[in-house]
């Protein structure tokens, strides 16, 4: 049996609304092993983004158990959660979420500031990763001066800078055209081949084809969980 990265048991999440408690996730169970590439699919409103935020320790479940690398996340305080987001998880957003007033290099190096890495090493690691995602000529550029696909590459480089073993991507190709989306997915494929576990939310079937496993959400429940049959998988 392979090592488990994520273990979810009986997860519930409800939001307070003026019309009362509104359930978003209902009794979700999921286990993701090291090295998997999982696509989480479902229509909008199915709860997949909320699930992703809980996985990324940005949001807390109302009930249920979430274990990350064997640790129960519910017992952690705000600083420990911040540390998880900093070192253990790399998060990639649909809207890139780069800081507009910083150069690409500084954007990528930002997570390292929060774990006390020295300036020279920060710069070196940021440059290495920007080169890895094909942006070696843009170290000092500003986010607004590059294309959406390039911005998402920067965001991925930032997610990778603290060498996490888990990447969570929430609709990473949602704001990109299909060609650029394919390029980004190729990057995820490469990362997965290097052994990084990837969990990706999407509603596009051809994007989900890059994963080994597809988990389908509907109305806050998992309604399907199956391996992907693909002819061109490496």
């Amino acid at each position: 049996m392979t090592d488990t990265v994520i273990r979810i048991e009986g997860l519930h999440k409800s939001y307070e609304t003026s019309a009362g408690l509104f359930p978003v996730l209902k009794n979700v169970d999921l286990r993701i092993a090291v090295g998997e590439f999982v696509a989480i699919m479902g229509p909008s409103g199915s709860g997949k983004s909320t699930f992703m935020n809980i996985l990324g320790c940005l949001d807390e479940p109302t009930a249920g158990r979430y274990e990350l690398n064997g640790r129960d996340v519910a017992n952690l305080d705000r600083d420990e959660l911040a540390s998880l987001r900093n070192r253990t998880i790399g998060f990639v957003f649909q809207g890139f979420n780069l800081l507009p007033r910083m150069s690409l290099q500084d954007n990528v190096a930002l997570p390292l500031i929060y774990c006390g890495v020295e300036r020279d090493e920060r710069r070196q690691r940021a440059r290495d990763l920007l080169a890895k995602v094909g942006l070696e000529r843009y170290f000092e550029s500003m986010p607004n001066n590059i294309s959406g696909g390039q911005q998402q590459r920067v965001a991925i480089a930032r997610a990778l800078v603290n060498r996490p073993r888990l990447i969570l991507a929430d609709e990473p190709t949602g704001n990109l055209d299909s060609h650029t989306g394919e390029e980004i997915m190729a990057l995820f494929d490469t990362l997965n081949r290097e052994g990084i576990t990837i969990v990706l939310v999407t509603h596009e079937a051809d994007i989900a084809q890059h994963a080994q496993r597809q988990v389908h959400f509907l109305d806050g429940r998992i309604v399907g969980d199956h391996a992907v049959q693909r002819e061109h998988r490496a």
């Binding site: 705000r78 911040a82 987001r85 800081l99």
Partner: protein, 406 residues
């Protein structure tokens, strides 16, 4: 880590230069006003202290009591109830440094073709000590001059200028009410007294000479006024008590009867003038501090706006691992940088303003190290105090809500 944060704070401030500048302006004006007011206040205090020490420090004035003749009462100093022997007895008291009986009057003084009406003070050599008044040319008269009532004089700068012009008065002979006097020495500049009179418009002669030959006296050896100087300010009250007892005993005043003399503490009067100046400068400082407070509130205001504007940025930072204290530090540093830089500029402007005031009005200003330190410390404290609440607010944002903020 902190260095990186400092860079970030600097960048955030640079991104909105006009706003940063305007926020800083509050601190600049506050600190500038405090420094300016403190400088002017301390200058005024120093000026008062100078005029006190010019008068002479730790001084008592002993005046003879009033007399009553046929129902007409003279004022204090009207009678001659004090005498030189009293003065000599007082001089024996412990703690008394100098005693100078004084007999004053004004007289027409003639030198060659010039004449001038000036105040003539008959006294003893101790007078110069008591008033810390140096002889800058020639020499002072001595006790033996007093004993033998010689016709010698010390001349003040204003009187000298009016009688002698550019000539050196030392060794010259002047006439005071027709009697010739040799000028032994010239007194140093004393300037304006507390009452505004020119203290340099005067001539000092031995007490005995004044009484016997210039003004005449119904009661030779009696004086209306004695100046007494004590060694330190602290012992003034005890010396005052001893002096009163001594004089009552010497004048044979029975229990229950009023003194036949008046004792005034000149230093106390001068001290109250100094105290009022001190309170005045405190008041000025307090008013200026209000502008510092307003500057601080301005910082808080802008930092709150900044936190709201940058909610999404805060969310992103939290999503990639910023802890509460990282966000807190980031915003706190911004507030501190604004107040400290504003403070530095304010210091420079305040000092420049103080120098300008001195140059244009001639008012003495003193820029003391302590006032600079106080202004700087207060500014830093204001930055931390008013920066803390917005920074704390930023640090306690919920990451997911901050990320969703548009």
């Amino acid at each position: 880590m902190t260095l990186a944060m400092l860079g970030e704070a600097w960048r955030a401030m640079g991104a909105n230069r006009l706003r940063t500048f305007l926020t800083m302006l509050g601190m600049v004006i506050g600190v500038g006003a405090v420094v300016l007011m403190m400088s002017i206040g301390q200058g005024a205090q120093y000026a008062i202290k100078q005029s006190i020490s010019a008068m002479g420090s730790n001084l008592f004035i002993l005046l003879s009591g009033s007399t009553q003749a046929g129902g007409v009462r003279s004022g204090s100093g009207g009678g001659y109830t004090l005498n030189v022997a009293d003065a000599e007895a007082i001089a024996e008291l412990s703690g008394v440094q100098a005693v100078a009986p004084i007999h004053t009057g004004s007289a027409q003084v003639v030198y060659g073709p010039n004449n001038w009406n000036t105040s003539v003070i008959g006294t003893m050599p101790g007078y110069l000590d008591a008033r810390s008044w140096p002889v800058v040319a020639g020499s002072a008269f001595t006790d033996s001059d007093v004993r033998s009532a010689t016709r010698v004089a010390l001349i003040g700068q204003t009187a000298a200028a009016n009688l002698f012009g550019d000539e050196d008065p030392v060794g010259k002979t002047i006439r005071i009410r027709q009697s010739p006097f040799v000028i032994l020495g010239m007194l140093g500049v004393k300037g304006q007294g507390m009452d505004g009179r020119d203290q340099d418009d005067t001539i000092l002669i031995p007490l005995t000479t004044a009484q016997r030959q210039v003004f005449g006296s119904q009661f030779p050896g009696s004086v209306r006024m004695v100046m007494v100087q004590t060694e330190t300010q602290e012992i003034m009250p005890s010396v005052e008590k001893e002096m009163t007892e001594l004089l009552r005993q010497r004048h044979r005043i029975r229990e229950g009867f009023e003194n036949d003399f008046f004792l005034r503490n000149l230093t106390a009067a001068a001290d109250s003038a100094a105290e009022s100046t001190r309170i005045m400068s405190l008041l000025l400082g307090a008013i200026a501090s209000v502008s510092l407070l307003v500057g601080g509130i301005g910082i808080m205001n802008i930092m709150l706006v900044s936190v709201t504007e940058r909610t999404r940025e805060i969310g992103i930072r939290m999503a990639i691992g910023a802890r509460e204290r990282d966000i807190l530090l980031q915003f706190l540093l911004e507030a501190i940088i604004i107040s400290v830089v504003g403070c530095l500029i304010g210091l420079l402007l305040g000092i420049a303003g103080a120098l300008l005031v001195e140059a244009t009005t001639g008012t003495l200003v003193i820029i003391s190290f302590s006032s600079v330190v106080v202004a700087f410390g207060v500014a830093a404290a204001v930055g931390i105090f008013f920066g803390f609440y917005p920074a704390k607010k930023a640090a306690q944002l919920d990451p997911i809500e901050a990320l969703r903020y548009q």
